[in-house]
Subunit: 347 residues, 4 copies
C-alpha cells in the first residue's frame, strides 16, 4: 500500500486517475492539487459523479512542499513546461513521479526544445526519465523513479506501428498516421473548440502539419527502428467524448498478406495483458472505452502495397491515466494489471 | 462461489450482466443462452468488447434442461410472456431465479393480465415471486428464490416518489412522471426506432398514455401508499445511449420547503448504499452511467404547491442488470454491494 | 425591399437571422453588430459556414448612432436589460425594432421587474411593444413598430397550451410544462455547461423552480385565459444542438378523448401556416429542425383525467430568429411566410 | 418547368431529393416509387417532416411503365444492379435519367464488372452515360440524357485530389484517402451497423481494402491524370448523421508550400459555384451540412514531402441528391445553381 498525490486533479486525466485509484487495492490518494480557481473546492463539487466516493478538497502547487512528506508517489497531469519546475524537488525528496505531461517524454533535450520551445536547464533529471510505454520499454521502466507518460496519440500510434518498424517490414519514410480523437482530448477547458454545438455533428482536422505529438511519435519510432524517421501525422476531432482511432498507412517493403501480418502482431504482443489483436473484426473505439486496452487490426492492400493498421485506445485511460497507473504498478513492484481490469461499459 | 446461467445474453441487459458478473468474486458464469439466430456464436463475436474476457458460445432455451444441473441460479432477460414457461421448471429444480422481464413483477395475476394480455396459469410460482426493489422490499427479497426484477422506468420513478408516498406528503392522484430514457432502453433490435440517424438530434415522447411501465409504477406505489392510485406517465426517447431521468411532479398536501424535503429523502435512504441525495446539484444521467446508483434531488415550487423530484439511474444497471445482481447478492447471502462498486467512467 | 441591421450577430440567434435573411427576397442586411471582442471581425470568420455568403464585419453598439440612418428595421439579439437602453433611440429615429430579448415581452413593468430585477424607466416605449406570437396576437402585431419576440420555451409552451386555456377545457392551476431543450438554447458562450463532454450522453434539469421563462409563460397564458394563473415549469438540457419539446400536462375539467382534442387543435390553428397538428405520429424535434414550424399533438389519459400536449419547435427558428422574421414580415407588410418556407434537412 | 419522378424515394437520398425539388422553381415531382414494403404509403408517413409539404404516396417499379409518359426526367436512387434493368426503357421513351446508383458511373463495362460483379448486357446505353461531376466534366454532361451520378466518397475525394492529379504535382501511386462518413451513408435500413447505441461514441474503419468507391475514385482519377493509378482508400464511420471528410495524402514531386497550393486550388475552382477553398480555417463537415458545397483546404508537410488535402461535403447533398439536381439543371438547361442555394443550418 502506497500513498499518492495527484497534481492536476481537476482535469479529465486527473479525474480519471481518481476513478482508477479509488478502486486500486495498493494505493491511497492522500491529496489533490489543481489550478488556483479550484483551491479549497471539494473534488466532488467539480465532479459530482464522485460524490460519496472521495472527500478531498483541492490544494494548489503552492502547497506542494508541505505535502510532499505524506506521499510515496506523485502523479503530475499538467500542461507542458510546468512539471519541469517541480519534478527535481519531488525526486530529490525521494519520491517517485509519473508525469502525464510532455516534459519527460524526450530524453533528448534538443528535440524537446524543438517541439515545445522550452528546455530542461539540467539534464540530471531528464536522464533518469523513462518513456512509459510498458509494451516496448518495460525493463527500463522498472528501474526508474521518473516516468514520462506517453501522449494519447503517440500511445495508439506507436503501439500500432511498432511491430512493422521493429521488424523492418516497411519503408520508414512512408508512415502516415491519420488519427481521430474524442473531445476529452481537448481537455475540460471551455472554449469554442469544446462547445457542444460547435463539435456535435462535425468532424475536422487540426494542427495538420505541426501537432506536437508528431514529434513524440517520430522520436520514439526512430528509437525503435534504430533510424531517424519522419511521420506524416494528422489529428482530427470527432464528435464523441472518448477514444482515439489511429489509422496507420505504411508501404510494405515486399508483398505480404493479412494473415501473416496478423500473426506477426499476435506474436509481437503475445505476453501483453492490455493489447488485443483482432483478426476479422474492426476495432471500434467503443470496444476500449473506460479500459486500459489497445485493440489493433492490420490489413494489406495488395494493389497499392500499403499496410493499414487500425489501433484504438481510450485516450484518457491507456492514453493517459490508465497507462500512468500501469507505470506506477511497474515502478512500485505491483502486478502490472492491478486496478486496471475494467471491462468496457458497452454500449 | 455460485454458478450462474444467463438466458437472453445477446441483449443489452444480458451483456451488462456478463460485464458485472465477470468481475464478481462470488459468481462464475457457466452458460449463456440467447435467441436462435445466435446459437453457437461466441458471445465475444456478438460483443467484441468481450474478446479475451469470456469464451462461452450461446445456446438456446432448447438447451435449458440439460444445463440446469450445472447452475445454482438463472438470470432471465427475456421479452415478457416467455419466462412464465420456464420459471416453474427452474424453481422445481431447486434453482434460484432473477427474472429481468415483467412476468413476475405483479403479485396480482389480474393486473398482470390487464397490462400484458397474458396470464399465469398457476399462482403457485407467482406467489413466491418478490418485486426486487431492495430499497423498499429488502426483507421479502431475502426470503425468496424468485425475483421479479423491476423495470427501468419503475426503478427510477418508484425510488423517486416513494418517500413522498410513504410519508403521505402528497395528493395521491396528482403524480405525474415525465421520464426520459436513452436508446438502450429500446433494446439491441435494429428498427427504424433505434436507427442512429432517426434518433440523433431528436427527442420525442412515445406510448403517451399506455406504456406498460405505467402499470408497474401504479401497482407498486399503490402497495407502498396503501391506497389504489393512478399515475400519469409519459416516456420519452432522448438522443443518448444510456440513462433515465424521471422528473416527477406531485401536489404537496401542505406547504413545504426544499431543505425539509431534502432532509426527508436523506433520512429515508440513509442506509442505502446505492441511493444518493443531492442538495444543490442537478442529478445528471451522466453521473450514474455504468453504476448501480440512483441519484435523487427534490425541490418545491411554492407558487404552484408542487414538489418536483429528479431521479436518475443507468437503465441497464440499476434499471436492469445491476439491480439483478444486487438481488442475487441478497438471495444468495452475499454482501449487497458485492461486484457493484463501479465508479462512473466520466465523461 | 427594406434594409435591416442585426445587433447581437455573433450569437446563435443572430447567426440564424443572417441565414434566413440572406435568402429573404425583401430584406438586405446592411450592418452587423456584436460584442466588443468581435469588433472588426468578419462574420464569416466567426461563422465559417457563411464564407462566400456575406462580407460584413462586426461593429459594436457604440457604432449604433452613425448606422441608424442606413436601416429601416433593427433586430436586437441581446442579453436582457441591454435593449432597454437602445430601443428608445431606434424608435425615435422612426425605425422598426424586433427585439429577440426579454425586455419588451411584458407589457406590465412590475412583472418584468419581478422576474428580471430591472425596470423600464419610462412606460412610453413599453406601451408600444407587442408580444410577437403571431398565432395569438397577429392583429396587434401588425399595428406596432416594436416587437418583443417571445422566448423559445414560451413559444413552444404557449402554442401548445393556448387551445386548452382559451377554450376553458382545463383547470387553470393544473398546468405543468416539462420542457427539453437542445444546447444552442444555452448560447454560444463557452462554459462548463456548454462543454461537449459535459453535455454529451447526459440529461439534466436546471432552474427547476425559477426559470425566467416561467414568468413569461404564466403572463401570456394569463392574458389568454383572462385569469391569473401559475405554471409549474421545469426546463431540461438534452444532448442535442437544436430543438425544444414541451410536454404539457393539464387536468381536464371533464372527460374528453384524443379525437375531439385533436380536432379542436386543428380548428384552432387551421389558418396558421407554421403550426401543424399531428394525429397519430409523435412530434419529434427533428421534424422541425431548421424550420419555423411548430408541430403539436394532444392526447388524453382517461385514468388520470390529464391532457398531455406535445409541442416541438426549433428553438433558434420559431423560438427566436424565424419568429423574428415572421414578425418583421407582419410589421413590414410582407406576406407572413416570406423567407420562411424551409424544409427540415432530414435526417 | 419539367416533371420528374423519383425511384427510391424511401431512402435518404430519395428523401433529400424530395426536399430539394419541392423548392426548385423549375421542377414538379409527379410520382414517387419505393420498395414493395412502402407501396401505397404516403411519403409523409415514411418521413413525417414532409407532412403538409407533399401529398404523394409511393408506388413501386412495377408501376413504371404506366407512369413514364407523365415525366420528363427520372431520378433513380437504387442499390447497384437494378437501374441497369430500367434505364434502357426510360431512355428509349425519350426521357432523361439521373441515376444516383453505381450502374452508370463506369464507362468501361469490364471495370464495372470487376467491382460490382455484374455487367451491362449492351453497351448501347452505357456509352451515352456521363459521370456527373460537373466541376470536371461539365461539357460532356450538358450533351447527354443519362447521368451516372457520382458516389459520395468519390465526390469528396476526386474534387480534393483533382487539382494535384491534373497538374502533375504528385507521385500518382502515392495517393491515400482516409475518409470519414456520417451514418446516413449506410442508408435507412435498420441493422446493427446503423443502430444508435452501436454507433454512438464509436469510430471504426470498414471495408479497409475493398470498398467499391475505391474503384470509382481510381477510375476517375486515372481518366483525369491520363495514367492508370491505384489509390489506397479507407472509409470510416463517424458518430454523426451527415457529412464526409476526406483527408487525402499524396507525395509531392517537388517541394511546394501552403500558399502556392492554396492559390492553385483557388485558380482550379475559380468559376465553380459549389467549391470553396479555405485559406486558414479547417473545413468542418458542419460547414456544408444541408448544402451542395464542397469545402477544401490544402497544406504541405515539408518534413515528409506530403501534401494533405481536406475535403468536406454533405454526403446526401453534394454526395448524392444535390449533385443529382445540379446535373439535372445542366441537362435541362436551367442555371446550374437553381434550387441549390441553401445555407447550412448552423449549428
Amino acid at each position: 500500500m502506497i500513498k499518492a498525490g495527484i497534481v492536476g486533479a481537476g482535469g479529465y486525466a486527473g479525474a480519471t486517475l481518481i476513478n482508477i485509484l479509488l478502486r486500486h487495492p495498493e494505493v491511497k490518494i492522500v491529496w489533490l492539487m489543481s489550478e488556483d480557481a479550484h483551491k479549497g473546492k471539494k473534488i466532488a463539487d467539480l465532479y459530482p459523479h464522485l460524490t460519496g466516493e472521495i472527500d478531498l478538497a483541492c490544494q494548489t502547487l503552492d502547497d506542494l512542499d508541505k505535502n510532499l512528506d505524506a506521499v510515496d508517489l506523485v502523479f503530475l497531469a499538467l500542461p507542458h513546461g510546468i512539471a519541469i519546475n517541480y519534478v527535481p524537488k519531488i525526486i530529490d525528496a525521494g519520491k517517485k513521479v509519473v508525469d502525464l505531461g510532455a516534459d519527460y517524454r524526450f530524453s533528448d533535450n534538443k528535440i524537446f526544445k524543438q517541439w515545445y520551445g522550452i528546455e530542461h536547464k539540467t539534464e540530471k533529471y531528464l536522464s533518469q526519465a523513462v518513456f512509459g510505454l510498458p509494451e516496448l520499454f518495460r525493463s527500463e521502466i522498472k528501474k526508474t523513479k521518473l516516468i514520462g507518460n506517453p501522449g494519447c496519440y503517440p500511445t495508439a500510434s506507436i503501439l500500432g506501428a511498432a511491430p512493422l518498424v521493429k521488424n523492418g517490414l516497411i519503408e520508414l519514410d512512408s508512415i502516415i498516421v491519420d488519427a481521430k480523437s474524442g473531445i476529452t482530448g481537448a481537455g475540460r477547458g471551455a472554449t469554442l473548440k469544446t462547445h457542444y454545438c460547435e463539435r456535435n455533428e462535425g468532424l475536422e482536422a487540426y494542427a495538420v502539419t505541426n501537432h506536437r505529438h508528431m514529434g513524440e511519435i517520430e522520436y520514439q519510432l526512430s528509437r525503435i527502428s534504430g533510424h531517424q524517421l519522419n511521420v506524416t501525422f494528422v489529428p482530427h476531432l470527432a464528435p464523441m467524448s472518448r477514444g482515439i482511432l489511429a489509422t496507420i498507412y505504411a508501404k510494405a517493403k515486399q508483398q505480404v498478406d493479412d494473415q501473416a501480418l496478423t500473426a506477426l502482431y499476435k506474436e509481437f504482443y503475445k505476453d501483453e495483458p492490455f493489447v488485443k489483436i483482432f483478426d476479422d473484426k474492426a476495432p471500434n473505439t467503443k470496444y476500449v472505452a473506460g479500459t486500459n486496452n489497445c485493440v489493433i487490426a492490420v490489413q494489406y492492400n495488395e494493389c497499392t502495397g500499403r499496410i493499414i493498421v487500425l489501433s484504438v485506445i481510450d485516450n484518457l485511460v491507456k492514453g493517459a491515466a490508465g497507462q500512468a497507473v500501469q507505470n506506477m504498478n511497474l515502478i512500485c513492484g505491483f502486478p502490472e494489471t492491478t486496478g486496471l481490469k475494467q471491462i468496457t461499459v458497452f454500449p
